[in-house]
């Protein structure tokens, strides 16, 4: 299917007929209708986000007096300071990074090895291993929870950063191997054959030829995996208990318990918590979307 699209694209560039036709199809009325439908719908869609922004800068008195559905009487940026210091969000944010970055490194390095082996070597069990990785990544987490909890306890990892780092690193190997294996399959084999004739070892081929070529896929996976691991709630609930080690997801849940009626503080906290993934999405949107579509299986 990819081939037909590209053939079509190149033809379009050659005769330029389609460009013209496409433009002619978009008459002003249709364009106006398009915006008239999309913009109000999007605004309604984003109401929860607007309300979070507005509520986060209001004072508690203002909320109780004027209800949730009004403009702030004055802007209170100290809600953010309160969430950051008293709410403990500072430590939670640091913890999230301490967990996410090493987990990302583990899963990407190991799955690129696995992806290379599964894409480039024929051996018995290749497909079985491949489908084990894919199938495992689709399991409901509950089937892993009790044994993973026990294993973490046995290895003395429970209630440490390492429990989360290793579990996320290991679990995400499934999805990443799936994506990388299919990506490496699209690299023409001649590149590897040429390197092999030159006497390069397989590991050197992997390091010098494969890694540079799969950089786009690694970038896409990094943005996606960063978001997933950073946003994980369930495993943080199971594997970490100490407040000082909680990542920002379970941290926010405790902050919510602490400031039970103070929605302004809660919302200031949620806004701080989403900053890293939102920045990532804004700047690396293209990679993020590529990662998701690659993950949906071609």
């Amino acid at each position: 299917m990819g081939a037909t699209t590209t053939a079509y694209e190149s033809r379009r560039q050659v005769d330029g007929v389609d460009r013209y036709r496409k433009k002619r199809n978009w008459r002003p009325l249709r364009i106006a209708l398009f915006y008239a439908i999309v913009i109000p719908f999007l605004l309604i869609w984003l109401v929860p986000i607007f309300m979070t922004l507005v509520t986060a800068v209001r004072s508690l008195d203002d909320i109780t007096m004027n209800g949730p559905f009004s403009w702030p009487s004055e802007i209170h940026l100290d809600n953010f300071a309160e969430a950051w210091d008293t709410g403990g969000l500072r430590q939670y944010m640091i913890n999230s990074f301490i967990v996410t970055i090493p987990a990302l490194a583990i899963c990407l390095s190991l799955s690129s090895l696995a992806g290379f082996a599964l894409a480039r070597f024929r051996f018995r069990g290749n497909l079985v291993i491949y489908f084990t990785f894919v199938g495992g990544s689709l399991l409901p987490f509950q089937i892993l929870m009790l044994p993973v909890y026990r294993l973490a306890n046995t290895l003395n990892l429970y209630d440490t950063y390492w429990a989360l780092i290793i579990f996320h690193g290991a679990f995400q190997i499934g999805f990443c191997t799936f994506v990388l294996r299919n990506f490496i399959k699209t690299i023409p084999g001649e590149i590897f054959d040429a390197a092999r004739i030159d006497g390069a070892s397989e590991f050197r081929i992997y390091r010098q030829h494969v890694l540079p070529l799969i950089l786009p896929a690694l970038a896409a996976l990094s943005t996606l995996q960063f978001t997933w691991i950073f946003n994980d709630y369930l495993w943080a609930l199971i594997l970490v208990q100490r407040d000082s080690l909680k990542p920002v997801t379970t941290g926010l849940a405790s902050l919510r318990g602490e400031f039970i009626q103070a929605y302004n503080i809660q919302f200031a906290g949620t806004l701080i918590a989403v900053i890293p993934t939102v920045i990532l999405f804004v700047f690396l949107q293209r990679y993020f979307i590529q990662g998701l579509t690659m993950g949906s299986g071609k």
């Binding site: 978009w26 559905f69 190991l110 489908f131 509950q142 892993l144 044994p147 299986g297």
Partner: protein, 309 residues
């Protein structure tokens, strides 16, 4: 390798080749060993261990004994199990209908290069970037008796007591599902946009030249070409619906009186709050068995494309 150069020529060549072949055979194993070990230890092994635990009376303190099917017998007579199970069915039905219709609609609408389209796509997709904890907190607040949604309804002219979205047993599950859908629609839209990218435009144009209406060329040309991605979206949505946990845990913890419970949350409470680990493992096993039906459907499709290679 170095000592081979001293050996007689013919022998060295065949030895090197043999060694090379052996190396070649060993390489994939060396590459696969570290990831596979870690994966087996933290994913595949635990999966089987959970199934084993479901046949025991594990409680984390006393000795773990084999009890046969006792946990399953108890499970099928447990009202909370059935409530949770049917709530999962609600999640599933909602997840395979609304996001697919809305997501496809949005994808068709936004599949153009007018100014601003990129921004609109990002807007609809943005809830996917935010963690479910944040979504749970914000939506819980919107559902409050004097929260945003009740205020809007009152403003639109609704009289009477505010609706207790998270307190009314008839509404609560749907209220949580709505928050989940808010997140899912953008994702499905994105997958459909990728699918539309692969639709063969020459066929669409040919049909238009032949006088087909927009609707007919959509139904007969575009829709059939979107069938493969739709199957993937349905399977992914089902798996996501069965995984639903975060929002339930944050918004209601399954309450009131388990009316919004789902299997994942039920399992978590039994295993980690009530320390009925054997029982929790049985719930997890049932949940996994249901998921596996769909995981295997997905994998079977992939096996087919693998053989086509």
């Amino acid at each position: 390798m170095a000592d081979l150069s001293l050996a007689p020529a013919a022998q060295s060549v065949s030895a090197a080749r043999k060694q090379g072949r052996r190396w070649h055979k060993a390489t994939p194993i060396l590459f696969l060993l570290p990831p596979l070990l870690l994966y087996a230890m933290w994913v595949i092994g635990p999966m089987f261990y959970s199934v084993w635990m479901s046949f025991t009376n594990a409680d984390g303190i006393s000795r773990q004994d084999f009890v046969g099917l006792a946990n399953y017998r108890r499970l099928f007579n447990d009202d909370i199990f059935w409530t949770s199970f049917f709530n999962n069915i609600r999640w599933l039905v909602a997840f395979i209908t609304i996001p697919i219709v809305t997501g496809l609609g949005l994808a068709l609408l936004l599949n153009n290069d007018l100014p601003g389209t990129r921004f609109f796509k990002a807007g609809f997709f943005s809830p996917m970037v935010v963690s479910s904890v944040v979504i749970g907190i914000v939506w819980s607040w919107m559902y409050q008796p004097y929260g945003l949604i009740n205020e809007v309804l009152a403003w639109l002219g609704r009289d009477g007591m505010p609706i207790g979205f998270l307190a009314d047993p008839d509404i609560v599950t749907w209220a949580i599902i709505a928050a989940g859908l808010w997140r899912q629609v953008g994702y499905v839209m994105l997958l459909y946009l990728a699918g539309l990218n692969n639709v063969d435009q020459t066929l669409v144009e040919a049909s238009r030249v032949d006088g087909a209406s927009t609707f007919r060329s959509f139904r007969d040309i575009v829709l059939p070409q979107l069938q493969p991605i739709t199957v993937i979206i349905v399977v992914i949505s089902i798996i996501d619906a069965l995984r639903s946990f975060d929002l339930v845990n944050i918004m209601t913890r399954g309450g009131p009186y388990n009316q919004s419970n789902v299997l994942a949350q039920f399992m978590y409470i039994e295993a980690f709050n009530n320390y009925n680990m054997g029982y929790g493992a049985a719930i997890a096993t049932i949940l996994a068995l249901i998921s596996m039906v769909f995981i295997f459907t997905y994998l079977r499709r992939m096996v087919k494309t693998e053989i086509d290679y």
